[in-house]
Symmetry: C2
């Protein structure tokens, strides 16, 4: 029987890599005072659709004969909880978990995929943005990703520019085209947007294509979008390591202020984390509050990190036993575990050669052998499976050896 | 907007308790050489229904316009993976995760609930049972549960007794009634089963009601069920800490050999872990292999452990800043984090009193204050939030103080 389309099984070597990455992210988030929150897989469809655009609504896994669907991101459940629970503000939560979207699976895109989100609810200050950007940068660096840049813009700036020129309709279409500037180029964007912007094209479009230092770009935009520019400057005073990019839009819908994206600068040029401010969203779910969040795309990050040095099991020692000495082997394994060393014994009743084969196939680094000689002398024979070196000694000495590697 | 029926949100204090329990279980499983495996939430309905009885089939969350449903346990996905992947045998995996059943929610019963499973695929030896029982006992003890007993029986013994007396039909009904012996009493079970067992009632039923030491019961059953009795004796030679209970059945369906259950002996008399051998199951999913597994019921266990000493956040230190000294506070927080101490700063721009209120509401144990005096003298003022004691010292000295608690 087969796995369902777009779903994955994570086998032990992959899981070991994933667990390590999740732990790194969670530890970093906790260092900044973020707290874990977990929400269910299933939500009312009305909850899911309150925020999602049409695109997402068409991608929901809906439950038969019910008004339920599977969550498609972690921001919706957070918003529902935060808008209906009283927490000391700001409420800073993280969540690492799967989300589900009924899209056509492609290379690197799945129907069940994992996100690692951190959000701050209850602060309208740019300090919140600064914290998320610093924390995400640190997480990615600790994961081993070094080649990235942080792009940042503000929806307030985007909106204000259009308002300044009196352009009210078609905003979403304009933004959607603008967002493609790094893919299709400025010229192409210009051509596409000219009909919508009309006489103002030559005034507006260059504003989204500014080059140079952040401050230079901000100065050029100040008269059109003073509030948004002030916020970006405020942020820069706390966390300066971003590139202000006036054409960045980040999807559509609920963002109301800053938007940001972590992009690869090495071989990989895509995005592997992003987020922004969504001050209006919580109101849809209960009580309003300003909020800002970031989401690390776990799949992308793990793909970039590539395969770890091969490790197939957490087991440190396989305790091989000769016939009639299994119970002695069990005792040895128990002593090892008490010292925090993970140990396996033979559960099948195989001969010693096959026990070694098993240890080898899992790349277990040490084998301890218990037979008549060892049981009578109260010693153990220990073999380093990499070097093949073998010696007989007390269990205490063997433990020291295992720990020293 | 409301949470869906039978679903739960786990808020930070609960999550901290859960994360601790999950870590304890996972660490214990790893010590025994079990490896993590993760499978998707969604499986083909044919996969889910291959094993489940009618009862479970009626409890599936099915996905609209598809042949998919949400997993209702962790054994089905394990069986699918193990029967279709080549692993060194025995394959020992653990998985801690949610499962979904569309039952009517009751007190302590939810539609999304968590299980912590460990299974051994590829060993027909009682060594596998011994390992699971030892490992589960150790996990429960480490979690703080001490009042429990392990009940064990064998489906081979149950089946052989009926075969011995030539009773072939109605086996499931007989087992179902037998399983209730500790609830409704022997007399009641006798009355219910007499019509089905007929003339053999007085020979068969006392066999399920044997009292005394394990060996005495096994002796009494030996002539009716030699193979099953031999297996239980073999297990006892390796792991003796169980009570052989001839009336234990454990649900219905796929169990083929040993069945076992961890039951409370203190205030709580219910079961909080159980499992058994299912040698025939994997064949349904691909290639057959003997298998045995145990499942810890996380919800029950956490309920029994009760509320932990109140802890609302992982944060160790709140760095409070006076106006104009926020960036100095950020630097202090960064230094603390580098030393592995989790630290928060004020993200809202509140006055010092409100910053203290926030730290107090989250029960953060330490507050470090940065103002003009501190910034100029390159020292910090540190307050122990429990005792109220405050002193001004170098950051290094403050870190020592925080660590010593």
């Amino acid at each position: 029987m087969k796995r369902a389309k777009g779903m994955r099984d994570f086998l032990p070597p992959q899981m070991m890599q994933r667990e390590k990455a999740f732990a790194t992210i969670a530890e970093t988030y906790r260092e900044f005072g973020f707290q874990p929150l977990e929400t269910p897989a299933l939500e009312h469809l009305s909850t899911l659709k309150a925020k999602s655009g049409d695109e997402i609504a068409g991608q929901l896994f809906e439950i038969s004969n019910s008004d339920l669907g599977m969550r498609f991101d972690l921001t919706v459940p957070l918003s529902r909880v935060a808008a209906n629970t009283s927490f000391p503000k700001p409420f800073k939560r993280y969540q690492i978990g799967p989300v589900w979207r009924r899209e056509e699976p492609q290379k690197g895109r799945f129907r069940e995929f994992w996100q690692a989100d951190a959000d701050i609810v209850g602060s309208a200050s740019m300090r919140a943005e600064a914290e998320l950007l610093e924390m995400a940068s640190l997480s990615l660096t600790r994961l081993g990703l070094k080649d990235f840049k942080v792009l940042l813009n503000s929806r307030k700036i985007l909106n204000s520019i259009l308002e300044y020129f009196g352009i009210s309709g078609k905003r979403n279409e304009i933004f959607r085209t603008l967002d493609k500037i790094d893919k299709i180029g400025y010229k192409s964007v210009y051509k596409t947007l000219e009909p919508a912007l009309g006489e103002y094209s030559d005034q507006i479009l260059p504003l989204f294509n500014l080059k140079g230092k952040n401050e230079k770009k901000l100065e050029a935009l100040e008269r059109y979008a003073p509030e948004g520019v002030a916020e970006v400057r405020e942020l820069q005073g706390i966390f300066p390591d971003f590139i202000f990019e006036p054409s960045l839009v980040r999807g559509l819908g609920y963002y109301s202020g800053t938007v940001f994206e972590f992009k690869g600068t090495g071989r990989y040029k895509g995005s592997f984390a992003g987020g922004g401010r969504y001050d209006g969203l919580l109101e849809l779910y209960g009580h309003g509050a300003p909020a800002v969040g970031i989401s690390l795309g776990i799949e992308r990050i793990l793909l970039l990190l590539g395969e770890e040095a091969e490790k197939k099991t957490y087991t440190d020692v396989f305790v091989a036993t000769l016939p009639d000495y299994y119970n002695e082997g069990l005792k040895t394994a128990k002593s090892l575990r008490k010292k925090g060393i993970s140990a396996e014994t033979d559960l099948i009743g195989r001969n010693i050669k096959k026990q070694f084969d098993y240890a080898r196939s899992l790349l277990i680094p040490w084998v301890i052998i218990i037979g008549k000689k060892e049981a009578e002398s109260k010693k153990v024979t220990i073999r380093n499976m990499k070097t093949g070196k073998e010696s007989t000694e007390t269990l205490t000495a063997a433990i020291k050896k295992i720990r020293s590697k």
